[in-house]
Symmetry: C2
Subunit: 180 residues, 2 copies
């Protein structure tokens, strides 16, 4: 399936409410536990999503429209969520993510992008030339990769509790497939 | 982390609203597409969750309490969702899942299980002896494995659209790890 801006917007607009319904009020053993050293808890994932809203998706879309391939994007700080999370509750982060996502989607709609804009090109600092269409599709897929991660991190907490049923639970055998 | 009934209930009670927030009104290219032959769309996953509410979790919990290890559970029909889905919209399935889950959690609370009940044993037709604690932990982990699956199935639809970013998106490299 090719990238379609309306499909991307429909998905992006639903993620904050889905995370809110799942995580708000959930005991901290689920939301604050991770998969071991250098891995993230669901709480930190929400901080990472906020950091992406601030520094990744819309700033890069604007760079594509304004300077094209002439200058690479700012590298994304994978540990930028540490500052986003500092001194905040999960409830505050969920509110902030919802607000920030809504603002960004309104800004994206206000750009009034036309089909021909989708092929406009920018430069990723590591991946090289990318298109606006690829950037927007990745924004949506990035939400999905973190829903995938949150479900995996939660399941990890019950890896022993499920006993022999582990064999039937695919999520228990997922290592995240992250790039190094 | 050991199994804890309150933690399990907290998770189980949130899944219907989380799926509702994510899937209701989402374009059908996301909700009705799968990963190829013999794989499930998010729509079918919701049907499968309903089928589990009817035939798997609470019936098996009751069997453990009533007959213990003397008789194996009824085998679960992995294609039972076909009937659940027939002639229904995704919206109807989401309503049905929420209603059915709520009824089951009320029934579970009404059992007034005590810590010592958690070690009570039943017989799984393939896995052998299992405990009530393992069954209830698996109910929660089963929700998580299907959230994991839904995020993966959706991401599959954009596997080409994301271009070179695929390298950074763990979910794009997940094969589900399902038992055969």
């Amino acid at each position: 399936m090719a990238h379609n801006l309306e499909h991307t917007l429909a998905l992006l607009s639903r993620t904050p409410a889905a995370l809110d319904a799942f995580l708000r009020g959930l005991p901290e053993v689920w939301t604050r536990s991770n998969e071991g050293e250098n891995t993230w808890s669901p709480f930190e994932v929400v901080g990472h999503l906020i950091h992406g809203e601030r520094t990744d998706w819309m700033p890069r879309a604007r760079m594509i429209l304004e300077v094209g391939e002439t200058r690479p994007f700012e590298p994304f700080d994978r540990w930028g969520h540490v500052r986003e999370c500092e001194g905040k509750s999960l409830e505050q982060l969920l509110d902030e993510f919802a607000r920030s996502r809504l603002q960004n989607l309104n800004a994206l709609r206000a750009l009034n992008l036309q089909p021909e804009d989708m092929a406009r090109r920018g430069r990723h600092p590591a991946l090289g030339v990318v298109t606006l269409s690829q950037l927007l599709a990745t924004w949506a897929a990035h939400d999905l990769t973190h829903l995938h991660q949150i479900s995996r991190v939660c399941s990890y907490q019950y890896r022993e509790a499920v006993g022999p049923w582990s064999a039937y639970l695919g999520v228990m055998h997922c290592d995240g497939h992250s790039a190094p």
